[in-house]
């Protein structure tokens, strides 16, 4: 059954410089228990998409399209109704564990909040439940830690607290926006593994946002590659890495350091910078940086081509892109 169905989502930000089109014509479908990875550079619209799902976009944002959660359009919901969904049916983990917890409250108090709000637990019950949650996310000595303030915990522990928070009301969907970017590499794996285990055990759906293809490859079933506010390529994770097609996805893949590539070889980069969302190019947003770009690319937005059942790509030069697979498009 389809749990989340995003149809033609558009997000526009009113800025002093003009209108910035943060997300354009985005479509997502997510079944219960399914995991989706969203990958892309900074400013490609990943976080905006996540905030739109939570209904937490900044005030200067306007949206259009449909965000269906179990058939109900979240964009039509009142703020009051959204408050019963956030933290309850949908929960989010943020990038910065160091600043995502309130410094003046104990972690226990912060975990107890959604328990009392959504599950209607008494203070005492919520306290016990918070302890159990802390234990569940692997915080040692929870009965003591529960009285700690955030500054008394390490970054990894704070992210565990954030996970406990997100988990507290057994949401249908967990959105993790770069949950490990700010953490040590050794801690990263532990946190991802924890998220993976909990998602499996609870049967939650997961939207994992990252700029790291490796993280996405290991932790999700489906992947969506975003560039310039739109999904340039989507597909199932186990196949897409063999079938990388869009020149941007190929570039992202080529830019990953590989073991055994030799000391003196420079890392591959995609030349240029992300497009200005205020003055987006008329055609394909990747035109300026694409090694395959032709005149046609700048003029019209490419259609979405269905490569197979799950795999879609938006590119004018599919043939050339397929031919370049695994090759040296960015040398």
């Amino acid at each position: 059954m389809t749990l989340l169905d995003v149809r033609n989502l558009n997000i526009t930000l009113q800025t002093a410089m003009g209108e910035a089109r943060a997300v354009r014509d985005l479509n997502i479908t997510l079944k219960k228990g399914e995991t989706l990875g969203i990958v892309g550079e900074s400013g490609c619209g990943k976080s905006m998409t996540a905030l739109a799902l939570m209904g937490l976009l900044p005030e200067n944002a306007t949206t259009s399209g449909e965000l269906l959660l179990s058939g109900e359009d979240l964009l039509e919901k009142s703020e009051k109704e959204m408050c019963t969904i956030r933290g309850n049916r949908m929960a989010m983990i943020f990038q910065e564990p160091m600043t995502s917890l309130n410094p003046v409250h104990t972690v226990g108090r912060q975990i107890m909040e959604p328990l009392r709000l959504h599950r209607g637990l008494s203070k005492k019950e919520a306290f016990e439940e918070a302890k159990r949650l802390l234990d569940r996310v692997g915080i040692p000595n929870p009965s003591e830690r529960i009285r700690n303030h955030p500054h008394q915990l390490s970054g990894g522990q704070r992210q565990r607290v954030m996970i406990a928070l997100a988990l507290s009301c057994s949401p249908d969907i967990l959105i993790a926006d770069e949950p490990t970017t700010a953490l040590d590499v050794t801690i990263q794996d532990q946190i991802l593994e924890l998220i993976q285990t909990l998602v499996d055990e609870e049967g939650m759906s997961l939207v994992l946002i990252s700029h790291d293809l490796g993280v996405i490859a290991e932790n999700t079933q489906k992947v969506m590659v975003m560039y310039g506010g739109t999904a340039v390529e989507t597909g199932s994770t186990d196949r897409i890495f063999d079938e990388l097609t869009h020149p941007y996805t190929q570039g992202l893949f080529a830019a990953m350091p590989k073991i055994g590539m030799g000391r003196n070889r420079r890392l591959t980069t995609i030349p240029g910078t992300v497009p200005d969302l205020i003055n987006l190019p008329k055609g394909c947003t990747f035109t300026d940086r694409c090694p395959l770009a032709s005149e046609k690319c700048g003029g019209a937005v490419p259609a979405r081509s269905q490569m197979n059942e799950s795999h879609t790509v938006m590119c004018h030069h599919l043939d050339k892109a397929i031919k370049a697979r695994g090759g040296e498009l960015y040398q």
Partner: protein, 316 residues
């Protein structure tokens, strides 16, 4: 906590000691001989000499400094040169007006600031926010003595709700005393409250942009619940800092408003003493004011630690 407390307390004592030296030195440098002021310009040099000796002003400065400090430590402030009565008698009445007035003004100012500041922040960039901030700009710009005159005209002369000035003394009953302090407190609180409201608003808006506020919203807390449980406490630190400074100002810097309302407060007392070259009164009152300012800062520091547990942790 006790280390934090002890450290702050030692700072308080050291500051007071430093202040006493500065106050004494400034009064030494101040031109004008107390004896000459008391006797008038026509006095003979001999008479001045006799009075100087009588007042103990012929002794070396160091000796006078230590006898002053020694006296204070024993609870003895000495006698006024001009009025020949104990300094405490002159100051006591003034303190009984100034301290309640400062507290009343501060309460009014804080109520004004929190109501306006929070409401404006919660309605950021809407018409109510813009107009409230416009009013607060007006409140800051209006000189308090002029506002005092307007208040007297309106509430005392036209409506006859409150007395236009003077102070009956607390012996006449607490309510009567408070009644005569309401208008001066309002005149003082309007300006300070307006400043504090703007600080409250900007501080709240700043905290609203913090990551943990987004977390609170993501938990399902409404905007209003987030404001009360997560934003307010974090936003209070700059507000309390300014409150401390304002309270100090209310204790010492209210001479003009005191004059408009004919209140013999601390400011008026010290001004009179300076004109009379009544150095011992000036020294004692200024040291008292310094003590109250330092004490206010001490309390502000303690409040910081209560609000934000991180500050306590860093200090130890």
């Amino acid at each position: 906590m006790s280390v934090f407390f002890a450290k702050r307390f030692l700072t308080l004592l050291a500051t007071l000691f430093g202040a006493s030296i500065v106050i004494f030195l400034v009064m030494e440098i101040l031109p004008g001989d107390p004896a000459l002021v008391i006797l008038g310009v026509e006095a003979t040099p001999d008479a001045v000499k006799v009075l100087t000796k009588e007042l103990g002003l012929d002794r070396p400065a160091l000796e006078r400094y230590f006898s002053w400090i020694g006296g204070i430590l024993q609870g003895e402030l000495g006698n006024s040169y001009a009025y020949k009565v104990p300094v405490w008698e002159l100051v006591e009445g003034a303190l009984k007006i100034t301290i309640p007035l400062a507290i009343l003004s501060m309460i009014l100012s804080v109520i004004l600031a929190l109501v306006i500041g929070l409401y404006a922040a919660a309605n950021h960039n809407k018409a109510s926010d813009v107009s409230l901030m416009g009013f607060s700009q007006l409140g800051i710009s209006v000189p308090n003595f002029w506002l005092a005159v307007l208040l007297i005209l309106f509430f005392a002369v036209n409506l006859r709700w409150l007395p236009p000035g003077g102070f009956p003394g607390w012996e006449e009953g607490i309510w009567k005393g408070i009644r005569s302090l309401i208008l001066p407190a309002l005149a003082l609180a309007t300006v300070q409250g307006a400043i504090l409201a703007r600080i409250t608003r900007s501080s709240v808006l700043e905290v609203f942009r913090e990551d943990y506020v987004r977390t609170a919203r993501a938990k399902g807390l409404s905007q209003r619940a987030t404001l009360w449980t997560h934003v307010l406490r974090n936003a209070l630190i700059p507000v309390i800092t300014v409150m401390g400074l304002q309270f100090a100002n209310l204790l010492a810097g209210t001479v003009v408003v005191e004059n408009v309302f004919h209140l013999p407060g601390l400011g008026s007392t010290v001004l009179k003493a300076i004109n009379n070259r009544d150095t011992i009164v000036v020294e004692n009152v200024v040291l008292m004011l310094a003590g109250m300012v330092v004490l206010t800062n001490f309390i502000v520091d303690l409040l910081y630690a209560v609000i934000d547990p991180r500050l306590k942790a860093h200090d130890i």
